[in-house]
């Protein structure tokens, strides 16, 4: 009698636990669905509002007081040039730092400080980098509100991303590769430049793309250095038809970038400008999604291909 009662109790307990299990399973699926739904709502909202504005004219016109005639020419040119500066500054610095920390650094206090510092820098809000740039680049170094100042600011911002990606890519190379190189008499640098860097290049590239995708969308630090929002001209072209064919005047030119242009249009009360904002936002989202997608694709492909 007692035994039977125990058995039914245990069965009820198991049933109860299973109910909880199923309940959580459903909660998990629903939550994930909600997250996806919000994402599609965000994209669809911009597509519906912005799609009609996305004509060729939109890409080839300057911003204007008339919403119908306004475009993003100066914004996407500005974004391209700023990204160029960011990449040129952040990639060599970040990769070098990553290589040093992973291959050269002795285990001592200084190395530990550098490592903790990189982790902490990744957690500093982006607007703080903007304040640093405002004080350092704009005023102390006298760069003004230029493409150079903006590019360097974003370079500082994505430096931790590049360093961490480089370290992770290098860490996944087995020690036997290094030992093989040393065994045939290679120096440390020969090992790094002939083996470590080529084998980790895809992983490093992934990190660089993710970093640049983040930099493209950053608005706050660029606003903080005081970038103008109404720019109806282009900087001097970097490539000239006359000798010496390259010009660096554009580095010091005033500029606007995509997210700033979008912010400018969002904060206008007129609805027509908000349609422009939707269109600009759509372009921005497509750009960042494409870059992140490329990075994810590279990483997944890499994981499959490399077998040490």
């Amino acid at each position: 009698m007692d035994h039977d009662k125990n058995l039914t109790e245990i069965r009820m307990m198991i049933a109860r636990h299973r109910r909880w299990d199923r309940l959580f399973l459903i909660t998990g699926i629903v939550t994930l669905m909600i997250a996806m739904l919000i994402f599609f709502a965000l994209i669809m909202g911009m597509v519906i509002d912005g799609m009609p504005r996305l004509t060729l004219d939109f890409f080839t016109s300057f911003p204007s007081r008339r919403p119908g005639a306004a475009g993003i020419l100066s914004a996407w040119v500005g974004t391209t040039l700023v990204m160029l500066v960011t990449a040129v500054a952040a990639v060599p610095l970040g990769v070098s730092a990553g290589v040093y920390l992973e291959e050269y650094a002795p285990k001592n206090l200084l190395t530990e400080i550098i490592e903790i510092n990189v982790t902490n820098l990744a957690g500093v809000p982006s607007i703080i980098y903007g304040l640093l740039a405002l004080g350092l680049f704009v005023y102390q170094l006298g760069l003004g509100q230029s493409i150079l100042a903006a590019g360097l600011t974003l370079a500082l911002l994505i430096l931790p991303v590049v360093i961490v990606a480089t370290r992770e890519a290098i860490r996944s190379i087995p020690v036997s590769i290094r030992e093989g190189a040393y065994a045939v008499g290679a120096t440390k640098w020969q090992t790094v430049s002939d083996h470590i860097l080529p084998y980790s290049s895809a992983g490093i590239l992934t990190g660089i793309i993710i970093g640049l995708a983040r930099a493209i969308g950053e608005t706050a630090p660029i606003i903080t250095i005081g970038a103008l929002t109404f720019i109806a001209f282009l900087p001097t072209s970097p490539i000239q038809s006359e000798f010496p064919f390259l010009s660096f005047e554009w580095l010091m030119a005033p500029f606007t970038v995509m997210p700033i242009q979008m912010f400018n249009w969002v904060s206008r009360p007129e609805e027509a400008f908000q349609l422009n904002a939707a269109a600009a936002g759509l372009v921005l989202v497509v750009m960042t999604l494409a870059m992140n997608g490329l990075a994810i694709y590279l990483r997944y492909n890499l994981r499959k291909k490399i077998k040490w």
């Binding site: 959580f24 994930l32 994810i296």
Partner: protein, 329 residues
């Protein structure tokens, strides 16, 4: 190992071995090979120093940030006492009747962050537990990159979403809600932070060794019991780190609150009101045309220093939590 440059490498190898043969034929004097060794050594040293300087540069960035914020704030605190800064209930540095109390900005930051965390932490954790412990392989392989993509969307786009989609939707249910509100900005900020929290939490959970789960299953526990009573406690240090990261992101977030929460400093704990945050104020001043060296210019550095200190406290807290909860399997 597969490597596409294999053939090139091979031919180079052959060239090198041919050179070595040459070297063996005509004898190299010892002083020459020593000199070459010496040169090689110098080159190695130089390269190592350059790489070291690159790594050290990150420390320089931190020093530059702290120096810049502190030096400008020092000038600010010559005009304004620390007491006024911390206790005054008004923030009107650009008005004739200037008040310099940081509290209204802090309250805006705290309220919007709390709303965001109320969304991001539970939802992010549920998604992480589901993906790590329940989801079939195919779902996880699709959902993880998808969440990463979501985390890559620019914040200004989320701001647009908050102002033009979420606020009207909320106003449909609560007609009294103003056009700018901390609630709407906080909700969208929470959605924005979900990918960070869920992705890091999931990574932490997946690093829990399988035998712990198997032990739990063997005693008859369900997946949910295993997740809550075994996996979550075992990965507590990673989860704490994810939560702390979420908090710092919410506190430092700029564009969503600037666009959707209004720019008026407002000492309130009510999320349905509009209010400026610390970051909003910095943007607002930067959009205007304040002369370099004026007190208005210095206020944004004082506000920035406050923000940095808040995030620093959370970072240190995260560090301590990680140490405290660190599990050794």
């Amino acid at each position: 190992m597969k490597f596409s440059r294999r053939n090139d490498a091979k031919s180079e190898d052959m060239k090198i071995s041919a050179q070595n043969m040459d070297n063996r034929n005509d004898v190299v004097p010892a002083y020459k090979s020593l000199r070459r060794n010496f040169r090689r050594h110098i080159k190695e040293r130089i390269i190592e120093s350059i790489l070291f300087l690159a790594a050290l540069f990150s420390v320089f960035i931190t020093f530059a940030i702290v120096y810049m914020l502190v030096s400008e704030s020092m000038v600010f605190f010559e005009h304004v006492s620390l007491r006024e800064f911390l206790t005054d209930t008004q923030w009107t540095p650009l008005f004739d009747d200037a008040h310099y109390g940081i509290l209204p900005l802090v309250s805006g930051t705290v309220v919007s962050s709390l709303v965001a965390l109320a969304v991001a932490l539970p939802l992010g954790t549920i998604i992480a537990i589901y993906l790590s412990e329940f989801a079939p392989f195919a779902v996880r392989e699709i959902a993880k990159p998808f969440l990463e993509l979501l985390g890559g969307i620019p914040t200004v786009v989320y701001g647009y979403f908050a102002l033009l989609s979420v606020t009207p939707l909320l106003q449909y249910f609560f007609p009294d809600l103003p056009g700018f509100s901390l609630l709407s900005a906080g909700l969208v900020m929470g959605i924005m932070i979900i990918p960070y929290v869920s992705s890091m939490t999931e990574d932490a959970m997946r690093s829990v060794p399988m035998h712990l789960r198997e032990g739990s299953y063997a005693t008859g526990a369900t997946r949910f019991q295993t997740a809550v009573k075994v996996v979550v406690p075992a990965s507590m240090s990673g989860i704490a780190a994810a939560y702390i990261l979420g908090i710092s992101r919410a506190v430092g977030e700029t564009m969503v609150v600037t666009i959707a929460a209004g720019m008026q400093p407002n000492l309130t704990w009510n999320p349905t009101e509009p209010a400026a945050t610390i970051t909003t104020y910095i943007v607002q001043v930067s959009l205007g045309d304040l002369p370099h060296g004026s007190i208005g210019y210095q206020t944004i550095f004082a506000a920035g220093l406050t923000l940095l200190l808040i995030t620093l406290i959370f970072n240190i807290l995260g560090h301590l939590l990680r140490k405290y909860y660190r599990e050794v399997y």
